[in-house]
Every structure is written in structure tokens, then in C-alpha cells.
Symmetry: C2
Amino acid sequence: MPQPKFDTVAVVGSGVIGRSWLRVFTRAGCRTRLYDKDPQQSARALAWFDEDVALDRREGLASADEAKRWRALITTHTTIADAVKGAGFVQESGPEKIELKRAIYAAMDQAAAPSTILSSSTSALDIEAIAGDLPGAKRCIMAHPCNPPHIVPVVEILANKKTTPEVTKATIDFMTEVGQKPVVLNWYVNGFLLNRIQAAVVREAFLLVESGVADAEAVDSCIKDGLALRWAFIGNFGANHLNADDGIRAYFARYADAYRSMIGDLETRAPKFDEATMAKIVRERGFGEKPEQVRAFAQWRDRMIVRLKALKAKHPQQ
Amino acid sequence: MPQPKFDTVAVVGSGVIGRSWLRVFTRAGCRTRLYDKDPQQSARALAWFDEDVALDRREGLASADEAKRWRALITTHTTIADAVKGAGFVQESGPEKIELKRAIYAAMDQAAAPSTILSSSTSALDIEAIAGDLPGAKRCIMAHPCNPPHIVPVVEILANKKTTPEVTKATIDFMTEVGQKPVVLNWYVNGFLLNRIQAAVVREAFLLVESGVADAEAVDSCIKDGLALRWAFIGNFGANHLNADDGIRAYFARYADAYRSMIGDLETRAPKFDEATMAKIVRERGFGEKPEQVRAFAQWRDRMIVRLKALKAKHPQQ
């Protein structure tokens, strides 16, 4: 991996997303300045970082030298002004509350050098509402990852009205340089692309279980032993294209009516998301709920995805 | 793989799904009797079979001996009565037209030995409507695969009102023995589990492209470089469970309202599925549309999924 265009970056917020960005940026060789006003929260993020790198080492995915080098790239800071010093790119990953995001952005805009890009991990808010009225709105942008970004590469890019094309391009280039897969939204929609598609699946999966037509293991099996085996390589349109020997146009020429019928039949209400259904899902899927069980499951998921990405890199589509 | 409980099976219909069942059953060691009233159609299915096995051989996924043995297990037949002779299990994979399915089932029910299970690959019709009024309704059942079944293991099982519990159990056991992953539906819903979930994704993916918020490559990237990397290992509920350090209950305690908001915002209409959108998707995704290009893409997909399944088998969840 060549050295990315920004040799110093800041990560503002040290929660689940912020700590994962630490791995993305240090792996790419960036000096990474972590802000959290609570030093204990930063310490927890670093403990997670060390444990996660140790797992990679055990798997042969990182050397002792790399582990040491990555860790040495991180410094921690308890004020935003201190954290953004010298950073060419800031990735904000604070709580999803508009007042908090606006306050954080105001502080970042005031403290950061004029050319510094201020990028938000927000999964729900419009970057226009967060930063559109700041003096430095033109260097503010959204880069929303899929959790966890150091494992799952896609990042949704959305500009506000004043973002310059240069800032958008530099953000796309930088995200590509650090190993992510940026995709561009032309305007704001609730949930962006990623969470809208996820919400469509969440709704149908929950309604199928709530209605009793099948259990949670059956529903998840349709995804993990079925649809997602195709989607992981070819996406939705790719799956449509290959569902007929003669491609996507022929497929929908034959099946558009069947889709219209099914879509007309899908319920439009939200699931209840009630306690009884959650308990049923946990039982039927056999989920451990203790923090160490959740962590072990997440670690297994992460290592499997790393292996899958290696498989895709080794055998690219011709 | 131990010898499955049925040493002789029949595949009724030799299209995209039927030919793939040939691979499932022969790989498991079953003598497989293929019916198509058009011998040229059967010949095309066998040509595909040979080409697909040859690819597996080139990849080291099948030996010369296996290729020879599998091929020798197939016989072709131009009448249903002939095809079902001696078969303990019949997998029907005819066209998705209720009149045709009913006629095929009537012929199978008349010709097959009383204990033979008559299983349908139908992706859209209710097995009750297909076979519920036949004298042998009790041995009729649905086993709907995800295309192509010799690559993607999940199979949806649905009984009709008269299907005996023994037939359901034997179907589940047999599907498991031949390497599939059966899941049970408690009653009929339009699209079953698999295609309802797929339809939810198809709708959202098409509407995002039709509306212009992003291009088709961006939408598919959210799936293949994002959501489906998680789904392929842990399904939807697994992804929900791991989206918070403290599990699925905590995740929805925090985010159920965000999901309600997104779901309330998802459009309920069907996409247009119009020619302009199809052309846009083909262009933006770079799909080849010549039959040989579609075939090469499908072959790549199949080999990637085989490798992914090997990865999952090698590193099971602890």
C-alpha cells in the first residue's frame, strides 16, 4: 500500500466506529490522532485495537513489526482543537444526535487548518444539517462506513451544497488509498443506500418471524446459505443478471410481473421489534448474549470476511 | 458423503434448475432419471452438465473418476411414466405455470410407486394448488431451491395439507444427505422466504437507481463490498446481533426508532422495471449480454461460491 495523500489524520470519537477507523488509517501508514473527551473511553478503544491486532497476528494477517508500527502511529487527545492539529483529514464518529454533531463540527471547523477535510461517519443525519451553515462548509463531507470499516470496505460519500468538487474527489481518493470502497450519493435520502437496503431486509426478516411462517434460523439460512452467497460476489443486479441464461433484461421480461405481485404483497408496516420476538430470535439462532460471546462471534465474523476478501482479491472477475 | 436413502431419483424438467439438480443428485451417488419430452432439451442439459463438471475438474474440485461416475448415473427419458420408474424421490422442475404443473403432477402421481415422494422446485406456486387434490397428495411436497442448487445449498420445504409428517421428514433428511440446507415453512406466503427477501432487495435497489440517487454500481457495491460480506456468514439477525457490542436486544433498543423512520420512508410501489433502467444497469455494471459472457460470469460466480463454502466448512463458527 503506497503512503496515502494525508500523512496525519484525526479520528474524533472512540466508539465502535471510531476505533475501527484507527485500524483503517494506521494500517495505511497514517499518523492517527484520536479524540475523546473521556480518556477512559480512548483507553478502551486502544485496548480493543491491541486485542484486534493480536488476533490478526495469531492468524498471520499482521507481523510483530506491523503491530508495533501501527500502534506507535496513534496518539490520544482530550480536546478537539488538540486532536485536529496538523491533520489533513478528520473522520468524525461521534454520537448520532444532531445537536452533538453540530457542536463537534463547529469545534472542528474552528480549530482545523483551512484545507483540512472534515468527514463524518454519520449513519442517519444529513451532512447539510450538520455542517451546511458553517464558515468551512465547503470542506465538510460525509463518509459513512459499513460496520466495521476496517473489515467491510464500502463507504458512502455525500457532499453538502457547498462542498467543493476538490474536497469530494480528495475524499474519494483518500478512502480508496486506505483500502476502502467509496460510492457516491447524488443527494440525501433517509438511510442512504446501505441502510435503506438493510432496512428492507430487516423489515422482511422480522415480519416473517413475527408472523410465524418460519423460525429465525430458517430466515437467516435463506440469507447465509442462499441469497448472500451470490450477493457477496455479484450484488443484487448481478444476481438478477445471472438468474436467466440470457441476462437481466430477459429475466425481468419473464419475471417482472412475479416481482410486482410479491412486492404488492409485502407488508408496508414496520415490525414490532418487541421483546418476545427478540427472545425468540436469540433462542432460535442460538446467540450468546454475554459480552465475551458477542465479541467472540464478531471476531469470527471479521476473520471470515478477511478471508473472503482475500479470496475475491485472488480470483478477480475476468 | 454416505449413500443417501434414495438410490434412484428422477428429475422432471431439464431447464436451468433441473440440470443443476442433476449435479446435486449424481454427486451424492444417486442414479438420476431425467425427463424431458423434448430430447434436444435433455441433450442441452447434459451438455451443460459435462461443461460444468469439466470446469470442476480443471479447478481440482472433481476427479476424472468422479466425472465419469456421475455421468454414468444419468439416464434420459421422454415420458414421465418412464422417468419415475424405480425412483424413490422425484424432483419436479417444470415451467412456473399452474396448469402445466398440475398436469405434470397428475401424471407423476399416476405413474410413480405409492411410496415415491413427489417434490416440486416451484418458486411461485402453492403446492396445495398444484397437488392438494390428487389421490397421492400425501406424498407431494415443495422443495424450492436457490438458483443454482448444486452451488447454493438452501432449499425451502413446504407441505400441503395432506402431506404426511413422514414425507416431510424424509424430504428434509434426503435434502440434507445430498448436501442441501433445508428450511421449513409453516404455511404458504407469496414468494416464500427466499424470494420475499430477494424482492425486498430488488425493489429498493431498483428504486434507488430509478430515482437517480446513485448509480447501479454504487448500489451493488453496498451489497457486494458491504452488507453481503456480513450476511454470507451470519445472516440478517446475526448482523443485527453484532451491530452493538451488547447484542441484538441492545441494538434495537437503540435503533428501532431509526428503523421505523427508514421503513416509513421506503417506497411501497414496485419499480418500473423499464427498458431505460435495464440499459442503465447493464451499462453501469458493465454486464456482458452475449450468452457466452453471461455463462462465463455465472461460472466465475459458481466457483467463487464453492470456494466460499469451503472456507465456511474449514472455519466453522465456534
